[in-house]
């Protein structure tokens, strides 16, 4: 499964939900499918996308929040999984695209390439719903189940280490930030 295929498979479900992504391929590929005002791309501060998603989820319990994370970012903030679990926001779905590498900086392997299991780490941290999927069908099904479950979920999607040719898009960081704020507060 490629990340782009996975994003494409669930794009329609993202349209009306609050979406926070990490930097790099996830941000570029989601924008390639179509940017929306309710999508925010955290183009740095690796590890903090899930913390931002948590801040939104706690502030706006009536909105469903989707965090699109990656293995490299999660590994920089493993403690954040324990914070997510403690708060247990039922309106947060945490998707981790795990390509076992730091793709945008040369493809060097992360610890998931040598066996570290992020879904099991999340489960051991106390996240109530966790799973790992490796096919597009399994991802789509697990994503829909997570949306319907009404509980905190960390869904690890094993994806190929392929991505876009470049990482800068024509959406400026501050344009995205203020547009997102308006969309969230409207």
């Amino acid at each position: 499964m490629t990340r782009l295929d996975a994003l494409g498979a669930v794009y329609a479900r993202l349209e009306d939900r609050v979406v926070v992504t990490i930097m790099g391929a996830v941000a570029v590929e989601l924008q390639s499918l179509g940017h929306r005002p309710n999508f925010f791309y955290l183009q740095h501060a690796m590890g903090l996308a899930s913390s931002m998603g948590l801040g939104i989820a706690l502030s706006r319990p009536e909105r469903q929040v989707i965090v699109l994370d990656g293995d490299g970012s999660v590994l920089m903030n493993l403690g954040g999984l324990t914070t997510l679990a403690r708060c247990r926001p039922r309106n947060l779905v945490h998707v981790v695209f795990d390509n076992e590498s730091l793709l945008s900086v040369g493809g060097f392997p992360t610890a998931t390439a040598t066996g570290s299991d992020l879904a099991r780490i999340a489960a051991a941290a106390g996240v109530p719903r966790t799973s790992t999927v490796a096919t597009l069908d399994a991802f789509t099904r697990a994503f829909d189940e997570a949306l319907a479950a009404n509980d905190l979920t960390t869904l690890v999607a094993k994806v190929e280490a392929v991505g876009p040719s470049g990482y800068v898009t024509d959406l400026s960081l501050l344009e995205n930030r203020f547009q997102f704020q308006r969309a969230l507060r409207s």
Partner: protein
């Protein structure tokens, strides 16, 4: 009895509430015990207990974009641990951040392990161009917290209040 000042902790908490703060992120430290307990006991406050302080930057950023006022409670060593988040989330994205930082390691510090961080705190705040003020007198608490919040929201950037020994500690 802990020598941490209950009266002044209460004054700080009341000032945060008066500034409309509804979400607090915190990592426990001795000087913050009363503040954290006040937040625990307040049904109007969302208290998020962190594993590491940098998470609080992301939390506050999310809360701000979602329309909720928040503040971070941390020790100055937690501020040191948060610097990448402050720079590449809060400053990069023009996010107001109200940081209440206990100023360990200044005059009167007895714990040897706090002294190095105490010596670099103000220089780091200046290097990051974060406006800051020391809170060392009870009669300054309400107005300085309100003004710090006003500046953070007007400038869309982080501001810091250093909670000093003379305010937080009842012993000399």
């Amino acid at each position: 009895m802990s020598p941490v000042s209950t009266t002044n902790s209460r004054a700080i908490y009341d000032a945060l509430k008066a500034s409309g703060i509804r979400l607090l992120s915190a990592l426990p430290e001795t000087w913050l015990v009363h503040l954290i307990r006040l937040a625990e006991d307040d049904p109007e406050m969302i208290l998020v207990r962190l594993a590491k302080e940098e998470e609080g930057v992301g939390l506050s950023a999310g809360a701000h974009l979602a329309g909720v006022k928040s503040a971070m409670l941390m020790q100055n060593h937690g501020f040191l641990a948060s610097i990448n988040g402050i720079v590449s989330c809060a400053q990069l994205y023009h996010i107001p951040l109200l940081m209440l930082i206990t100023y360990r390691g200044e005059f009167g510090e007895r714990d040897p392990w706090q002294t190095e961080g105490g010596g670099v705190t103000e220089d780091l705040l200046r290097a990051l161009r974060i406006p800051f003020s020391c809170l060392d007198r009870p009669d300054h608490v309400a107005r300085r917290i309100a003004k710090a919040q006003t500046l953070a929201l007007a400038a869309n950037k982080p501001v810091a209040l250093l909670l000093c020994r003379d305010l937080m500690w009842d012993e000399a």
